[in-house]
Symmetry: C2
Subunit: 327 residues, 2 copies
């Protein structure tokens, strides 16, 4: 299989709920006005805690200088993804993070490489710190042909191509922390749309992203909302591809003819990992979740945010018995 | 003829060019998310100096508390408009402010009542200070049947209905200041669209209103823009009706099939009044411009902003010889 190290140099940031109004101007530009920005990698995920924004350096320049409302993780992150090049030996029919659990996630966890996962409708991005790239390459080069994207071209690389040496991060056995999990009641869909039709859903998307916390004046209030449901909405626009993850309540607000999903009506349940914010330095969290999913050949998406991780799995197979012993 | 005193209590405000980013969140709500706000009267006009925002008290509440970027005129303003009730004796075919120059504008100027004009595609709003209403009614009640809107119903009123007395503002002869005018090269159109199709132009409208001062990354830059052209764009959403005033360059960015104008291709030239900001206390400026237009039966729209006034007249009849002696 091929592993691509993409050319985006990413920042992982968080905007506070109260601070979003101060970031509406740059975020709307990044989402809707592609010809006004050079940003090619943009992702915005709302959770109950905050808004996680992952974006490349061109996008990061659009954000106002640091304020009390913006937290920025200190590293540059690089996205990897696994290209299905036709001759993959995997017999799995599963999609998402399950496919890469054993080949990528587990080996990186063993090498103590922190990963930040971003599943989209199109693919699964594995974000690693740029300073860890040499460890990543040396860890994965037996299993993968590794290519580095340089100005749109892919060049084969080995770990010798990285200047910060070959030393691995250490080999002690992992002592995984078992994090509590939350399994909210709402169901989610993972969707996409033709980027040329993005203007058609602009007002709805703006309403959902930027005004969902302000009360509505009409009768359609969310008064009856189940308290066991979680607020979670993710939008990404990466290399021109749009991906949306939302619950069925939000989905009803969008025109049904524009958004599409891989199979009609496919819904996912969420497993949120972490009772306290997870931080960025602990390794093995994704591995802990994805390993049993892979063992059961259960499809799953996985979206990391600034505070917590989120796995989306088939509702009949919420794997709390196999991976979440602490719950 | 009937004169209506509408039920909106308006604030006239100005947002600085640099401060717009801080107001993007509430302004987008006021423009596009009607079910999230009780605001029924909203107007936003960009000029080279600033953004003039006229809005009712419900809309005003949406703006962040006063900052260095927001100026608020101290008064409450009330919009008047003249209803064409079929038996008008006027033989004029002219539209806009010309129709009301002699019946409304001139008498109010003589009574030293300041007016703030806001022409839209649908009608011409004459804003007067609420404290001047008794003078307005006593001045205009000979010529008009005057009705006050109360919760959607129109009630006949006379000047006795206003508690702040009957005294007029004084009767000295007006000594009009002759203000310099500017006649930019660009041509303008006055348009409307079905409010239900507003979402279809959302991204274009957002781009024009909120990002027109940031450079574009693609080749469509405005490098060749004539320096004699003025930046002027006006959007209003009043009682559910949308009106747009823009130059032909901005017009080309919108889909041609959604916006409509009264007669195809009707274009207007602008006369901007004022070399220095006009303020809100001088009376007779609109009268000075509209009187000769009325004499010549020349149609004109008239849009006041925080700093300057703007008349839009037929291009073959730019009246600089008749009213702008100071130029």
């Amino acid at each position: 299989m091929d592993l691509h190290i993409l050319d985006h140099r990413l920042r992982v940031t968080s905007i506070s709920k109260n601070g979003l109004v101060n970031y509406t101007h740059p975020l709307i530009k990044l989402i809707f006005l592609r010809n006004r920005t050079r940003c090619k990698f943009f992702s915005l995920t709302e959770t109950p805690e905050n808004y996680t924004v992952v974006l490349d350096e061109e996008g990061f320049k659009e954000l106002p200088p640091s304020s009390e409302h913006l937290q920025v993780e200190g590293s540059i992150w690089r996205p990897l993804n696994v290209a299905s090049n036709g001759n993959a030996s995997s017999s799995s029919q599963a999609v998402g993070v399950t496919k890469i659990a054993k080949s990528v996630i587990a080996p990186l966890a063993q090498q103590h490489v922190s990963v930040f996962m971003l599943s989209t409708y199109q693919t699964d991005f594995i974000l690693v710190r740029e300073k860890d790239l040499s460890v990543v390459v040396s860890t994965l080069e037996e299993e993968f042909n590794i290519f580095k994207e340089v100005e749109g071209e892919y060049m084969s690389v080995g770990c010798k191509d990285f200047t910060n040496g070959l030393q691995k991060n250490g080999k002690e056995a992992i002592q995984p922390t078992v994090h509590p999990v939350l399994i909210p009641q709402n169901q989610f869909c993972v969707m996409s749309l033709d980027p040329d039709t993005l203007p058609s859903i602009a007002t709805t998307l703006i309403d959902v992203l930027f005004y969902s916390n302000s009360p509505k004046e009409d009768s359609e209030s969310s008064a009856g909302q189940d308290l066991d449901c979680i607020k979670f909405f993710s939008f990404s626009l990466i290399d021109g591809y749009v991906s949306l993850v939302m619950d069925t309540e939000a989905q009803r607000r969008f025109p049904a003819d524009l958004l599409f999903t891989s199979s009609s009506g496919e819904l996912w349940r969420m497993v949120r990992i972490g009772g306290q914010p997870l931080g960025f330095d602990e390794c093995g969290i994704v591995a802990q979740i994805s390993q049993p999913l892979a063992d059961g050949d259960i499809s799953a998406y996985y979206i990391s945010t600034f505070s917590f991780d989120h796995a989306l799995v088939s509702p009949k197979k919420v794997p709390c018995h196999s991976c979440c012993k602490g719950n």
